[in-house]
């Protein structure tokens, strides 16, 4: 059952080949069997089985939607009523949210079953999942290696068939980079497409939730449930949600693909370049036309991102003060000691670095030189994308400079870790949708191809991904020991 697609699972449930309870039990038992991957922070066995029973009744009633009775899992950044939401941090190790995130509500309304909450870098800050208070996640393709981050538990769980599909969030590449490292399909939607209500904030002008699944076809079903305008999110965009599955099979004849030349410059590993070129060749066979595009400001994306993300993080994380919820230090001497020690004892090193950086960038006398400058550079980068996308349908390139690195390999140098996101970060600054799809292997480790589209072109991206997945079988490969 664990190798079936979402549509196959839905059909199996309707034809009573198996019940949602049986399906849920099968995935729960795989989660227990592969605990050493450390993909989950919480497994919500009891509520999952209750949801499955309810779904079985709904399906028997004959009016259930496509996700009814299907087990999924949530990144532990989405607030879930009654189930711990830690955000990968000691700060929220005792936090049971008093409400559900909008995304979680959407899945509940669809009758989906939540298996549990997935491991992640603390407050979504990281590219390797090594910054989690709950320990690193292992990559199913090479268990000495990282799954990527920050949605590392999400990607590992899908690759290892511990859940058929899951949610992730992407602030600078946190859906696409782990999807690439684990050989799955991950889509970061347009900023404002998926509600951020109840999705714990890191950098509010960049954060966006999205689907992570084994194929573009499955991701389309998931996004259908996640997307939509939400009055509870002040940056949500009021745009109709199209049918993401309707155009999956549309022909790619005449599709114009732009290759940003800055993506294929000296920094790109030879084997990675060859694998990406081979994937683009496949698109040529499917009828696409390829052209080079120039995006001169792309190299400024990393500095601009780390100013904006750190500044917004320092502001967002000021709410964790040990007063109303979350961690509180023992025996505070006074109020300042309560704040300082609660935060000092409960935040990890990377979160502290970014809070310090952001506080500095926003402090009196430095605002113009850093935050304002970064927001101007952000506009220049966004304009580069607008220009490039005015002449082509999608942009393509690598997701990552290399494949999954070993656990511990890059933890000593934060800057090295930041450079991991060199191909993904600019997309968040522009607020565009982008997807990672499996496109090959280097030394047994998966490679992701990045497909970037114009605002609200998620359906086109999924179509572009699906047609490639009809012509190739990279996305069907299963890591050894998880068949």
């Amino acid at each position: 059952m664990h190798n079936l697609t979402l549509s196959e699972l839905a059909a199996g449930l309707r034809s009573q080949q198996f019940s949602s309870v049986e399906l849920t039990q099968a995935f729960l038992s795989r989660i227990h069997q592969h605990q050493d991957l450390n993909a989950f922070i919480s497994v919500s066995e009891d509520t999952a089985l209750q949801q499955a029973q309810a779904a079985d009744q709904l399906i028997a009633g004959g009016n259930a939607g496509p996700l009814a009775g299907i087990p999924i899992a949530q990144k532990d950044i989405f607030c879930t009523l009654g189930v711990k939401t830690s955000c990968g941090s000691k700060m929220l190790d005792n936090f049971i949210a008093p409400y559900n995130a909008t995304v979680v509500e959407h899945f509940n309304q669809a009758g989906a079953v939540m298996l549990g909450k997935l491991n992640m870098d603390e407050f979504a800050m990281g590219s390797s999942n090594e910054n989690s208070f709950y320990g690193p996640v292992r990559n199913p393709w090479a268990t000495d290696s990282v799954p990527g981050g920050s949605s590392g538990g999400s990607a590992a769980a899908v690759a290892a068939r511990l859940a058929p599909a899951v949610t992730g969030t992407d602030t600078g590449g946190s859906i696409r980079q782990p999807a690439a490292f684990c050989g799955i399909t991950g889509l970061k939607p347009t900023y404002g497409r998926v509600s951020r209500y109840g999705m714990i904030a890191y950098a509010s002008s960049l954060d966006q939730g999205g689907p992570m699944a084994r194929s573009a076809e499955d991701a389309a079903l998931l996004l259908q449930t996640m997307a939509g305008f939400d009055t509870k999110d002040s940056t949500s965009v009021d745009q109709p949600v199209p049918n993401y599955s309707a155009g999956l099979n549309d022909s790619l004849q005449g599709l114009k693909i732009g290759l940003p030349k800055q993506f294929f410059s000296a920094g790109l590993d030879n084997q990675m370049a060859a694998t990406i070129q081979a994937a683009i060749e496949e698109y040529r066979k499917l009828g696409a036309e390829i052209q080079e595009v120039d995006m001169p400001n792309l190299e400024l994306a990393i500095p601009a991102y780390y100013v904006i993300a750190s500044a917004e993080c320092s502001s967002n994380l000021s709410r964790y003060d040990g007063v109303r919820f979350g961690y509180r230090c023992q025996n505070p001497q006074d109020l300042a000691d309560l704040y300082t020690r609660s935060r000092g004892e409960a935040f990890g090193a990377e979160v502290k670095r970014r809070i310090l950086m952001g506080t500095y960038a926003l402090s009196a006398g430095y605002y113009d030189a850093y935050y304002l400058k970064a927001q101007q550079v952000r506009r220049l980068i966004s304009d580069d994308f607008k220009r490039a996308l005015s002449g082509v349908d999608v942009l393509m390139g690598p997701v990552t400079p290399g494949t999954a690195f070993r656990i511990g390999e890059k933890t000593d140098d934060p800057i090295q870790m930041y450079l991991e996101d060199i191909y993904t970060i600019a997309i968040n600054l522009a607020g565009l949708p982008a997807m990672s799809i499996p496109a090959g292997f280097i030394d047994g480790k998966p490679v992701g191809l990045q497909v970037i589209g114009n605002y609200f072109s998620e359906a086109k991206l999924l179509n572009v991904g699906h047609r490639y997945q009809q012509a190739t079988d990279w996305h069907l490969q299963v890591p050894k020991g998880f068949e």
Partner: protein
Amino acid sequence: MSLSASDVKKIAHLARLGIDEQQIEHYAKDLSSMLDLMTQMGQTNTDGVVPMAHPLDQMQRLRDDVVSETDQRDHFQTIAPQTEAGLYLVPKVID
């Protein structure tokens, strides 16, 4: 651009963030390399470029000024570290 240990202490104080004394030099070094990375932006001319806050340049939505939330104080306080009589307790601020 480099930050000293005393700069880091000052920033940590502004952020009300406790940092181990022996870690301060370490943070000073990391933050200095982050700043080096960020100064790359300085070479780009951004005169007259409008800062971008929302990717779609959307304005803050407004709503009618009516009550939309119910009182859930007891519910919210079940997860608070320390409460009494419906109040959140913190160490004494005024003697």
